[in-house]
């Protein structure tokens, strides 16, 4: 293809530079969009989905019953569950019988899709707003049960469906 034939003004380059400068100058009085992340955090909307965590109920019990539906539904296979039996000596809601021995979410794989939260029949897993999870090692990013429960805290459960079973 032939090159376009440049006029004198084109070859001077000055009009182009001035046009570019004008675009820049136009933005100076406008509202700023750029944020000074990470010093300045984003304001996240209500339904923003971040990293999943596990919760306890108000009685301090792990809500997860290790049904493994989240493990099944997880598209990037980030969740790994090791089911176990709940300590039957525990007085409250002993009918649940099951509790995970370990619950591992690989945050290097998690895509924050929220399917685990949606599929959970026990409201035991929630997506919080944390999205920038970093670590020095990959193993640090494999969150185990204790860490996930610590991040999740307590979820007030108005129904407590196992109580009257």
């Amino acid at each position: 293809m032939l090159r376009p034939k440049l006029t004198f003004l084109d070859r001077l380059y000055l009009p182009q530079i001035l046009a570019g400068m004008w675009t820049t100058l136009k933005h100076i009085p406008r509202r700023r969009f750029t944020r000074q992340y990470p010093e300045e955090k984003f304001k996240l909307l209500g339904k923003y989905r971040g990293a999943p965590v596990l919760v306890r109920n108000q009685a301090g019990q792990v809500k997860c019953v290790s049904c493994q539906l989240c493990e099944f539904v997880c598209p990037p296979k980030a969740i790994r569950l090791f089911p176990g039996q709940r300590d039957q000596a525990a007085p409250v809601e002993a009918k649940i019988e099951k509790e995970p021995q370990d619950f591992v979410i690989d945050m290097t794989r998690c895509i924050y899709c929220g399917m685990c939260e949606e599929v959970c029949p026990e409201q035991a897993i929630f997506l919080k707003k944390d999205f920038a999870i970093a670590g020095y090692k990959r193993t640090e990013l494999q969150f185990h049960k204790d860490k996930l429960l610590e991040l999740g805290g307590v979820h007030e459960d108005p129904i407590c469906k196992w109580k009257n079973k």
């Binding site: 019953v65 049904c67 539906l69 099944f72 089911p83 019988e97 079973k165």
Partner: protein, 558 residues
């Protein structure tokens, strides 16, 4: 009369069935599924779940006992005014069965609603979820929400029925399959219902617990999660598990099984239907005999003199030592376990043919037999070992000669395939006399302690191959999981050893570095080749191929 059949119509499809066939089985012939809970083909009919209700009509007969015809020449059908349970109705000539009419669907929805009234919503913690008939049929015939506003009936949960089974009475839908199984098949009439109506409860007679060798079958036939196996309880959800058809290696019956595994871990074994062998049952001894597969102590690397080595070096070492011993006139003996597959035993026999030794045998292993499935011969493949020429007839009678040969110093090398010979008359004192003891095994034992070379093999769930059961039925194993570490199927080890022993480079008996030896291509690179060679030599296997053994096995010629 047994040869005669009757013609009937099920949902417009013509079906030909033997008289006496019930409608569930007849519909299955036509590819129509009639939902049911209490019916089980191997158990007496109870007819208490009412899920299999269908409309049944018979031809209207005139005064001359001939079917009356309508204006189109079709027989007139008289439908019964009420629905009939398909499990307890047998086929008859000209019968018309309708399984999907609105009346039938309505009845099934009603039955489901009643069943679900008191059924707890335990699915997230119930081990049956995923293979639960109630769950499946609730999808087909259940309602989204319950009309029942009263309190659900509460019954005992978590009742142990002996050490193997856990009973949850709330989940029980009172189908009575377990009661009938324990009474009719296992022969211990220990389960029954107490109370009435919705308070009916499955219990075990006081002071008793299921204590037969077949108890865990009631866990399989329980359509819901009322009976769960303590062994499998809460270990893994069934939908993650891969099903591999296999054969139980516990005794010479060779029950057909399914091995359930996930990511290299075997979680359970369940029986697989085979009318010629085990119907649909298996014994608990066989069922729970899978834990050695994932034993953390499994042998994972070849060992030469207790030191880890690679396969090339180990195979070359064994071949060189065998040739050297043979060159100096020492005898070589072998003991091949009748727990190995027929192909492995065939290659083992072939190896000894090449070494011109007839000092071969298997160790007989027996235990108490019951009248059902458990065979007194605890070797799954003694027939195969005899067919391959490894086991003597009767098995084990050459073992004494081998022991004497080792004691006198005539036998200088012993090859052992998957067997612990220290319990078969060849004690550690005799093993210490050998110049070369090679053992191919999967777990450490007194043998692997004493052996000069240890070659790690594969368990039954990690390899293909065939077993021949006590009745001469050849059945196939399938690989379900991968072997740990460098362990590999015994037939591969033997096939390479066979090639190495006859390789010229290793024949002169001069020690060489392992890397100076070029591995020859084995004659038997795959199992099909081994089987073909075996079928060519053994008249009992003439015209058979590995494929033709299939999922249900074949009876071999006597």
């Amino acid at each position: 009369m047994s040869e005669s059949t009757v013609n009937l119509t099920i949902d417009g499809r013509a079906v030909r069935a033997v008289p006496g066939t019930n409608l569930i089985e007849a519909a299955r012939l036509a590819g129509i599924e009639i939902p049911h809970f209490c019916y089980h083909p191997q158990l007496p009919i109870a007819g208490n779940c009412r899920m299999c209700l269908v409309e049944v009509g018979l031809p209207k007969l005139g005064a001359d006992r001939k079917p009356e015809l309508d204006s189109q020449g079709q027989p007139l059908i008289n439908f019964a005014p009420k629905l009939t349970i398909a499990c307890n109705a047998t086929v008859s000539a000209g019968m018309v069965v309708l399984t999907r009419t609105p009346k039938v669907i309505k009845a099934r929805r009603g039955v489901m609603e009643f069943l679900l009234i008191n059924h707890p919503l335990d699915c997230p913690i119930c081990d049956q979820a995923g293979e639960c008939r109630l769950q499946e049929l609730a999808v087909d015939y259940g309602q989204g929400c319950s009309r029942f506003v009263e309190e659900k009936e509460h019954k005992p949960k978590r009742t142990p029925l002996g050490p193997k089974i856990m009973l949850d009475d709330e989940r029980c839908i009172l189908c009575s399959r377990c009661i009938r199984f324990m009474r009719e098949v296992a022969g211990q009439d220990c389960l029954g219902f107490t109370h009435r109506g919705s308070r009916s409860t499955l219990i075990c007679y006081p002071g008793q617990e299921p204590a037969t060798n077949y108890d865990l079958n009631i866990v399989d036939i329980c359509p819901v999660g009322a009976l769960t196996s303590t062994d499998f309880r809460f270990r893994q959800r069934v939908w993650f598990l891969k099903e591999t058809p296999s054969i139980c290696p516990h005794c010479a019956t060779g029950c057909n099984t399914v091995v359930w595994s996930r990511e290299g871990v075997v979680y359970r074994q369940t029986p697989r239907d085979n009318p010629a062998v085990n119907q649909c049952w298996m014994c608990d001894l066989g069922r729970l005999n899978y834990k050695f597969i994932n034993d953390p102590n499994r042998l994972t690397t070849p060992l030469i003199g207790g030191q880890p080595a690679n396969w090339l070096a180990a195979i070359a070492h064994v071949a060189q030592r065998l040739n050297a011993i043979r060159a100096t006139g020492g005898q070589i003996a072998g003991v091949g376990a009748a727990r190995a597959t027929t192909e492995e035993l065939f290659l083992f026999g072939k190896l000894f043919q090449g070494l011109e030794s007839k000092l071969l045998d298997s160790v007989p292993r027996s235990g108490a037999s019951d009248k059902l499935l458990l065979n007194s011969d605890r070797n799954p493949n003694m027939r195969g070992a005899q067919l391959a020429g490894v086991a003597a007839n009767p098995p084990g009678h050459r073992l004494a000669a081998i022991a004497d040969g080792i004691a006198s110093g005539a036998i200088k090398a012993l090859l052992v395939l998957g067997e612990d010979v220290t319990s078969a008359g060849i004690g550690p004192d005799l093993l210490a006399k050998l110049e070369l003891l090679v053992t191919i095994d999967i777990l450490p034992s007194a043998m692997t302690q004493a052996a000069h070379v240890v070659l790690p093999g594969a368990s039954f769930a990690e390899k293909g191959g065939t077993f021949i059961n006590a009745k001469g039925r050849m059945q196939q194993l399938n690989p379900a999981v991968a072997s740990p570490g460098q362990a590999r199927p015994e037939w591969q080890i033997l096939s390479e050893l066979l090639a190495a022993v006859s390789s010229r480079a290793l024949r002169d008996g001069q020690p060489r570095a392992a890397n100076a030896w070029k591995k020859p291509a084995p004659d038997f690179p795959n199992l099909g080749k081994v089987f073909a060679a075996m079928a060519a030599e053994a008249p009992a296997l003439a015209d058979l191929t590995l494929e033709s053994v299939g999922a249900q096995g074949v009876q071999i010629k006597e």
